[in-house]
């Protein structure tokens, strides 16, 4: 271990034109090297060897970026970083760690670091990291913080990222925390849970909110076109390339690049994405010179990314580079009353769009919505509500307005209410054909349905399955009997 030098060794000029970089590295030769590289690039550098000197310099100097070794002689670098961020949350911290200690760097990113670098440091990579964090650090983040938090809330409401359940409140809190960092966000969740809205919320609450938000679905674009879509191409670089195209990474410069279905990306492109993340430069197809871009990455998948790594479908180094702050979008069935908030908000919005006077959901519909498992999650609810608004004239939404597609979801759905029609009739006995002959067809149907419901323990979906009709059809019949 290199003996720590005493006191800050290089002070920043008293009226430096821009905030200095605080270099915290206890191995003196590495400190000499990194300081020299940074100064050659025109940065003011304050370099120290211990955590206590680092905290002293941080408190006294105008520090914008901290380049922090995680292993220090007098204190753990992670806790030092947390103290610094508690003092000045707008500070950009880049952590450094030795090869083989990436897990600690990832932990630091989760605790608020903007970037991590693995030693030995490559000069280009170091300068790219400094450039990246400097561009966000120079934004007026302190002043903007309350406004961005508010805009995040507004964004969630306006964009349909709705839900006041405990699980969603915790998610909103996590989004607000991670938004101010440059850390890569990895969103996981079932299809239809709102992963892109989550990415938008992170972007809207970040210092990059004024920049572009570019979304790209890696699973929806043919693999041979994906490289061009992400990194762009030059005119004539391949058949059909009739003009220069910047690509999503360049289009997102200064903002956020959202890569959905990231696990579907082909291995060759994964390598290029990793290179892009390491250097912050893009080389369009057919180009010879790289172009520097400043992009925050958010990615998403509905698969288990670690399983994709185990199966050899996803690069492990890329996984660790991307899987910094994971966010899990809960399925709708675990969000309690959120389904009603979403349905009623969507109803009001779609009714306004279609010019129809819908007033809300009636009790049985609410009960059914609470009970359904919604395998298609929020997207399915929105489709159901859209269907109702388009095919009906307005008023209170009743069971009879529900689409036939809302059927056969599970066996576990309890009936939304006691079938009042059935309750008014004596419990059906075992039906004999002789008992039915001579009765009206509608009454025979009702008796058979009631007997089937009885046999299925009152479960409408199970009874519907036996009868080979949709649950909504069954609900409509039961409601009709209740009215009559």
């Amino acid at each position: 271990m290199t003996p720590p030098a005493k006191g800050p060794q290089h002070k920043v000029a008293p009226h430096a034109p821009r905030p200095a970089i605080l270099l915290v590295e206890d191995t003196l030769s590495l400190q000499v090297l990194y300081r020299s590289v940074l100064r050659k690039a025109g940065h003011e550098v304050v370099s120290v060897s211990t955590a206590s000197d680092a905290l002293e310099s941080f408190a006294q100097s105008r520090i914008g970026v901290v380049l922090l070794d995680l292993v220090l002689p007098d204190r753990d670098g992670l806790s030092l970083m947390q103290d610094m961020l508690a003092l000045r949350p707008e500070t950009a911290v880049i952590v450094m760690t030795a090869h083989g200690s990436v897990n600690r760097a990832v932990a630091a990113m989760r605790a608020g670091a903007h970037e991590f670098l693995v030693k030995p440091l490559d000069e280009a990579r170091l300068m790219a990291a400094i450039a990246n964090v400097s561009s966000t650090e120079t934004a007026p983040r302190v002043a903007a913080a309350p406004a961005t938090s508010r805009s995040a809330v507004d964004s969630m409401t306006v964009s349909g990222f709705i839900g006041s359940s405990g699980v969603m409140q915790r998610l909103h809190q996590k989004i607000r925390s991670v938004a101010r960092s440059m850390a890569t966000v990895f969103i996981m969740g079932e299809s239809g849970t709102g992963k892109e809205l989550c990415a938008l919320a992170v972007h809207a609450a970040s210092p990059r909110a004024a920049g572009p938000f570019i979304a790209l679905n890696c699973g929806a674009i043919p693999q041979d076109l994906l490289e061009s879509e992400v990194f762009g191409h030059m005119k004539g670089s391949f058949t059909g390339a009739i003009s220069d195209k910047p690509g999503a990474a360049a289009a997102a410069d200064g903002g956020t690049l959202f890569l959905d279905e990231i696990c579907e990306m082909a291995p060759a492109l994964q390598t290029k994405l990793l290179r892009f993340l390491q250097t912050s430069t893009v080389v369009p197809v057919g180009a010879t010179k790289p172009r520097k871009v400043n992009v925050r990455i958010i990615c998403a998948t509905n698969r288990d990314p670690l399983e994709a790594v185990r199966r050899g479908e996803f690069r492990e180094d890329l996984y660790y580079r991307l899987f910094v702050v994971p966010l899990h979008m809960p399925p709708l069935r675990e969000r309690g009353e959120d389904v009603l908030e979403i349905a009623e908000t969507a109803l009001a919005r779609f009714a306004r769009e279609e010019g129809k006077p819908f007033t809300g959901l009636d009790g049985p519909v609410k009960a059914l919505f609470r009970a359904l498992p919604w395998p298609g999650n929020v997207r399915q609810v929105l489709n159901v509500i859209r269907n109702i608004v388009v095919l009906n004239e307005g008023g209170l939404v009743t069971l009879s307005m529900l689409p036939d597609t809302l059927d056969r979801q599970t066996d576990t759905v309890a009936p939304p209410r006691a079938p009042s029609g059935a309750a008014a009739v004596a419990a059906p006995q075992a039906l004999a054909l002789d008992d039915l002959v001579g009765r009206a067809l509608a009454e025979i149907e009702r008796r058979v349905i009631e007997a089937t419901l009885e046999r299925q323990g009152g479960s409408v979906p199970r009874a519907a399955r036996v009868l080979e009709i949709s649950p909504s059809t069954l609900y409509r019949k039961i409601e009709g009997w209740a009215k009559s």
């Binding site: 290199t2 003196l28 030693k119």
Partner: protein, 135 residues
């Protein structure tokens, strides 16, 4: 060893740069000498620290010195020594998990011997390089 642009860099683009030459170029001509002298000193300190930790069976200290060696060797472009250091670091961590922070480091003996030899060789190369940089 010369910094970038020195008289021995007649055809720098033809042959791949020696790792220490790359390091000198990265530091710049004004700092390369200081860097090499400090690098040699840090390697000496690490060598001593590793030997003392191994003798005392202090696996925590051994792991800490191995961690520094990983960064130093990697920075100097000595991949073999960096891998040895990584093996020492992993071995020390495994030893701590298995037997506690103070334990015989016998199993790490062969790695220690190789690391000792590797550090000595790297120190020689760095000192040679520093002499080559002297005005």
């Amino acid at each position: 060893m010369r910094p970038a642009g020195g008289p021995m860099m007649a055809a720098p683009d033809v042959q791949p740069l020696d790792p220490l030459m790359q390091l000198a170029r990265m530091a710049g001509p004004e700092t390369a000498g200081e860097l090499f002298r400090q690098l040699a000193a840090d390697l000496e300190t690490t060598r001593t620290g590793l030997a003392q930790a191994a003798a005392a069976g202090d696996l925590v200290a051994l792991g800490r010195h191995a961690h520094v060696l990983m960064a130093l060797a990697g920075t100097a472009g000595d991949g073999a020594l960096r891998d040895l250091a990584q093996g020492l670091s992993a071995g020390a961590q495994a030893g701590v998990r298995a037997a506690g922070p103070v334990a015989p480091a016998a199993e790490l003996g062969p790695l220690m011997a190789k690391a000792e030899s590797g550090i000595a060789g790297l120190i020689d190369r760095v000192r040679d390089g520093a002499q080559g940089l002297a005005p």
